[in-house]
Symmetry: none
Subunit: 209 residues, 4 copies
DNA sequence: CATGAATGAGAGTTCATTCAT
DNA sequence: GATGAATGAACTCTCATTCAT
């Protein structure tokens, strides 16, 4: 078993090595302009090897998103499990979102590229299921947090999942729009303060009275 | 003059014909999988003809976004110019956003694809300038609307442009996320109610007291 | 008849106008990179009009060479007809070659491009015949000049046509090679002195004793 | 080492295989009408493979010329190094030129196509440098041969490099012109005797007294 | 397992030529 | 005759993917 396990671990490590390289390349060049050879070079592997670990370019790409989603899920679940009053939970949730962004500022944009477009349809069912699962679990966890606030009479009585969707939309919308602005205007990066203001408005907006 | 004018009009009509075809094809297949030949066929033209009206595939693509931005700009300016109390202006603004979405439900997603990625850098300076211009004018107009509310003591004292950015982020975030959900889950389309709820929260969030 | 004639003349003038424009464009860009649209623009005509005067791009191109050949032929015949001793005729011939070069320094290079390659096979029989005719007439005229020198015992007894071929080869070889050197090294233009030296050597080489 | 070396050799062999195929196709069709697919088929390879060995069509084309130049250089240097009286060296030089022609009768024409035109500007600096280098080295070596004759009082006192340029021009001029004649008239091939006569004239022309 | 040379389908784009006006 | 918008065949080149080693 020991040997088997070690092999498993090594295989997984190699996968991560590829994903990390792919992240760098995709972030720099975008999905289309990034070639498998670019990624192979970045990972110091040969192009053929990538196909031992990923069925094709699209699955490799999707795996990046999956990695973000895993991180998001962990962070949100963690907030969810802690015992604290709803207001503090919201704070913690917002904090978690900053961390998600910091975990991978560029790739979160690509994640939307992935979802808002062509790729999704060609993924293997298994990978697609994983993505769906993690998405809905994460949104579910966020919803649970809001539910707590509603039940304690703190928040307005809206459907918790709707609140979660809106919260996530606001977060990703701000990230995307600030990124767009930076590309267009090469302006200063206002992400953090804008996100803070957005969260304040959101919190006030869902708070009763 | 008559002949010249008629030619101008016909040229413009042809451009629109191509844009409409491109919109359909890009929306269905995404930027990469859509080929110029696909678009030419959809427009019932030959591939070469597309290049008489658009420098290359990327400029054609960018022109779609420009069209949305033009519509957005017109609608927002219109709201801006009307004489009514701030609360009603906000209502009108939200109404305008619904219309923007209805004007082109799919392509607004592609617009983000455009901005959040590789393409933007290869556009002709002129087109890029137009996009920048319309973007900032539109955001500016939205900001002016909020400014009215702030000055009349109705809204919290935040920087109007920041509010505009957040408002736009919220709108586009919801549109994108609902679209993503639809692709992943092939669920019912919750866009309209979610957008309504989001706007309500936002309005409450920026209203004083 | 008057009207007919005038039309003829105008048609010919238009042809020349196109040829002149084509010469400029071909000289600048070479055969392949020069487009019919380039030439049309240079001639201030529309692309379609070019086809009223030339069957296709290759015939237009060939017509340039024909023009050089016509000039060459006239000049050489002129030398031929004058009454003077052979030595002076050779001088006059060499002088004529300088003028041919000055008449069109760049296009003489293209002329070789034309002959040494692909185009020639697709010309209309008529044009091809004209080119053949002028070529052989010109070479023939040069040969006659040399023949005079041979008969007067001045030049070595070689076949006059062979001498003419070699003389022409030397001339065109020097023109081409000096042009090549200029492209490769962007050096000073040594054409005139090199041509002079080449002609001196040639003259000495065919002079008896 | 063994494996590495074998791979190197195979890579070089593949390059030569492509060059040989390209030579055939270019010679038959000329630069423009020859397509990369033609060449690939001739080489029994796929189009993509050509691009593993040559950056683009133009570089492939230029590489043919380089091959001639390499041969020219070797032959001329060889003559240069031998110890023999100047008259014999000139004979050997002329002999070498025949061999250069035999080495590749058709492509020498294309070489002029290359130099006398558009292509040269788009080559990679490295390749261009190699071409420049070999050209000037070869001309330099020819010049050295003539210099020997001048110093021994055998030849007229002209600049050796000028003599070399003229010699090379004469050679290539004859080759080109005889090829042109063959295309135009589909006549018998007079190259060898014409070249012989040309060289005789040239030799007489530079010999003192 | 890893390699990387080879593949070959397919893309974007150009441009000589045509033809309705 | 002149136009110039439209054509569409044909080109070069790219790159995801495969497979013999």
């Amino acid at each position: 078993m020991g040997i088997q396990e070690r092999k498993e671990r090594e295989k997984e490590r190699r996968r991560q090595q590829i994903i990390v390289a792919a992240k760098r390349v995709f972030s720099q060049k975008g999905f289309n302009k990034a070639t498998m050879e670019d990624i192979a070079k970045e990972a110091e592997l040969s192009p053929g090897t990538l196909y031992l670990y990923f069925k094709n370019k699209e699955e490799l790409y999707a795996s990046l998103s999956l990695r973000i989603l895993q991180y998001l899920h962990i962070r949100v679940e963690h907030v969810n499990k802690e015992v604290m009053p709803p207001e503090e939970k919201i704070d913690a949730l917002m904090e978690a979102m900053y961390d998600v962004y910091d975990f991978d500022p560029l790739i979160i944009i690509n994640m939307f590229h992935l979802q808002s477009s062509e790729t999704l349809k060609n993924l293997s069912p298994q990978l697609l299921t994983e993505i769906k699962d993690l998405s809905s679990k994460s949104i579910g966890a966020i919803a649970t947090i809001f539910e707590g606030g509603i039940q304690s009479g703190l928040f307005v009585e809206k459907h918790p999942t709707a609140l979660a969707d809106i919260f996530w939309s606001l977060f990703s919308g701000v990230v995307l729009w600030e990124a767009s602005k930076k590309i267009i205007n090469a302006e200063k990066d206002y992400l953090k303060p804008t996100l803070k203001a957005a969260f304040e408005i959101f919190r006030k907006g869902i708070t009763k009275g």
